[in-house]
Assembly symmetry: D2
Homo-oligomer: 289 residues x 4
């Protein structure tokens, strides 16, 4: 991938496949002084859908940043009925982190944050437990302790929504958050809630997948990061990976091996989300890596 | 693993976990002049079951080969209510190969056979199609063409059983055989029918798993080799492996990548079966590799 | 990747990175009635080199097939000082297979050939041994038995060259061919001789890599497919893969595990070569998969 | 692996392969009331060396813990000229952590420590930089800042040795510590200094392996955890793993992907060291997992 110190624009597009899309998009950029840094396109031939991620250097681009969207819609996108999103390389998205009691994904994300691995702001942690408060405090991140019971669920979900709005959160990462999210929350953040499930989906959805994997006697276990949707563990998959197990591995061994897998898989998904590499279409992802 | 040019015995044991099993088995071998080449044991702590594979050199062993079973039962196994199987390193098991029209696993097995990779005899190929007759003929393997229809299914299954008996078949390999086996056949060869399923079970059992994997948008596909049981695609798993796919891969690409995976996974399972590395207990395998 | 039943053209390009390359190439295709099926580009930012693979449907393309190269050179390539190659989807390249005595890669390739997995013609097998003659004969492939000794090496290499010319060979696959190729032969087929080396290069080049891997105590072994160059085992790498080993694995176990790895890695490299996915630049490959 | 709540003993043995080793060791345990929880043995048939890891429950064992070593030496080990080490399951080894400026492995280890993943005490961090002082302080770990220059190297190494003694350190983990250790230090902690090297050794030893990997155009990168020895990057390998890269990956991408690999591989090596799973013999490891 090209590196550039100057600012660049990233355009993510999908639409019905037609002749002339590539030329129209590249012409729009080139004729207006943009230097294409990176172009990736893909056609889903079964569904006849075209996907593109294109990134260009804005240094000599003649259209002002805040006008690019309007011009692109008028000159190109409208003609092809494109769905598109525009991002700039200097954006710093705001992430909210949801966590319960299992710390491995949570700590891993905070370590990356502290080390500056990701271009992201984490202003808010939401948890149904108190355990991680110290970790949040030492990094200066606000920590909302919202315990969930059958009685207060609706009330707490309203508070979550308020907080997410108040902190202007762009996307949410569920770092082994053990509660089911409210429908309104999920509906408000489409393709912007990243979950990690501790199995190789669609095998072993739901609770206790390592127990099920052990019971079934599989020789490989996995982890899956996906966008949360209304249907549990059924959202579009962003990343998966696996690790070998054997008859010698107890459920505890699987949980231990799985921890490392979960944090790596979740981190890769977040990284791709942050770099605007992910397009969702009909519950599947196109990941331009 | 130890290599030895002289003949060795292999004992596979499982029983309820108790004190004194290891010492009793090793004593039986040592006191009678056997040199232990390889010992592997495993305890399933949840089910409290003990598993062992032990191999010893017969060069100075004082008990005659044909008496070892009787002596072991009397002196050791009976006391611990052991389930056990005894094999000798100079046995050459007889394999029947079932195939339909997809040739990749079939050709791969024949190439290994021709190259002498496996210590096995393949006297019989059974197929519901005629396609592979030439390949069988050039290796001098008998080929039974038994097309299956709704009407003749019972009749053909009876013929299959007769042939398997007539050719003194020890175990069966289903090299992408696209027919469901009869219950009697499955019942007659418990833990001795090795199937290859073209998905990462328990994900995508049944027909057209690559289509389902593509539809679900998984990022990794797999193959699973297992012993066939009465319940389809639910038998004890011997070996699994996976390969990465991306949004760029069509179903055809998945099928292509899967072919290579299937043949490797099936071959590993057969190899472990041939080396008496596999113990089955409660629908799971212990694979002593 | 897009599938199309009609004929398509594939253009592989590399040149110094400059503004306007993508637009110029896509314009050339679009303005002349071509429908872009697949476009992949890459910029090596360190070396400032641009790479592209573009494929388009020729159904409505107004330039005759045999004129495309000339027009492209005149209208586009010359301006950017491009290196380029043009292929057509209906080409069937002619492969020569070199083999010694180890059969696994050889059999695997012939099985794929027989099964029609690859769009390729194999008119010629060259070997310094007689062993594989039968396999060649049954597929109707000519087999040149050219044993190599210190004395006849130069003479045999001349014969190899003659045969390659006579059979109009496009590219060569060394299926564990255990002889070093002559410099003239290597010079005549730049980036068109595909070798498989049985290690994870650059670890363990040269002879007996499994022995060296065992000696060093590595926990993973690999295989590498690369284009042969004058320097042994140092050519541009097309594909690599690995498999886990443990202290329990003897050298024989490594050789056995490695066999499966070698044939898969070699097959993937050949597949990518056949699909014109591979560009070589400064001893490295760009593989557009 | 068996779990037990009561205390167990772990014996690691290697010696020249002879008849009667297994029976002698198991007899020693069984006759004295020990219940074998786990037994793994391995014979290196080329070198004719026998390796064993055996763990037994001490609940009914009649020999007092502090006498087991003496009795074992007298009754068993002496006879076979065994090298052996005895551990108890309730030991909590003391680890010193060496770090420079790269934080990923360091943070990962501290997160595991804080989460209680490992049975270990970390009383001391040694660094040639000041950067990680805060992380150490918040976990209450002493931090020795010992900057290294050509002039003070010998002096600082003496201080390191003093600190290691003073804190009764059992083993050292080099979490991307960028200095070469002194020979005395290495000599004092044989097979007890765990390093992580950011390549698939023996490929790319020394400095800047990701740069070399990129230059060579490999398709897979790796990480290797090994015991540090006098010869740089040549010590016995404990664990390795790899991740796929492509032509699209810049050196920065490799470094990013490698970070995750390094921390996982190092953690697995430390885990195996902590569980007394690792035996070293002639610069190779036997890892009983």
């Amino acid at each position: 991938m090209k590196n550039t110190t100057s600012k660049s624009a990233i355009l993510l597009i999908h639409c019905a496949d037609q002749k002339g899309i590539v030329i129209s998009v590249t012409e729009f950029i080139y004729k207006n002084g943009g230097n294409i840094l990176y172009l990736d396109q893909h056609v889903d031939t079964e569904r006849q859908v075209f996907f593109m991620r294109i990134e260009w250097d804005l240094h000599d681009f003649v259209i002002a940043d805040e006008k690019i969207g309007e011009y692109f819609e008028t000159l190109v996108a409208g003609r092809f009925s494109m769905n598109w999103r525009l991002h700039f390389s200097d954006e710093v998205p705001r992430m909210a982190l949801f966590v319960s009691r299992l710390p491995h994904c949570f700590y891993d994300i905070l370590a990356r944050y502290e080390a500056g691995e990701w271009k992201v702001e984490i202003p808010l942690i939401i948890s149904n437990h108190n355990d991680m408060q110290n970790a949040a405090r030492r990094l200066g991140i606000d920590y909302a302790y919202l315990p969930i019971s059958r009685e207060n669920r609706a009330e707490q979900e309203r508070k979550q929504l308020e907080l997410l709005g108040q902190y202007r959160i762009d996307f949410i990462v569920l770092a082994r958050y053990m509660q089911i999210l409210g429908d309104v929350l999920i509906g408000n953040y489409p393709d912007r809630i990243i979950n990690i499930h501790h199995s190789f989906l669609p095998a072993f959805p739901g609770a206790r997948p390592y127990h099920s994997a052990h019971e079934r006697g599989v020789k490989i276990i996995g982890a899956t990061s996906h966008y949360a949707t209304a249907e549990l563990d059924a959202g579009p998959i962003i990343e998966q990976d696996v690790v070998r197990v054997s008859h010698e591995n107890s459920i505890e061994d699987m949980i231990r091996k799985g921890r490392d897998l979960e944090k790596i898989v979740l981190a890769r998904a977040v990284w791709n989300h942050l770099h605007h590499n992910v397009l969702v279409y009909q519950n599947r992802t196109v990941v331009f890596e």
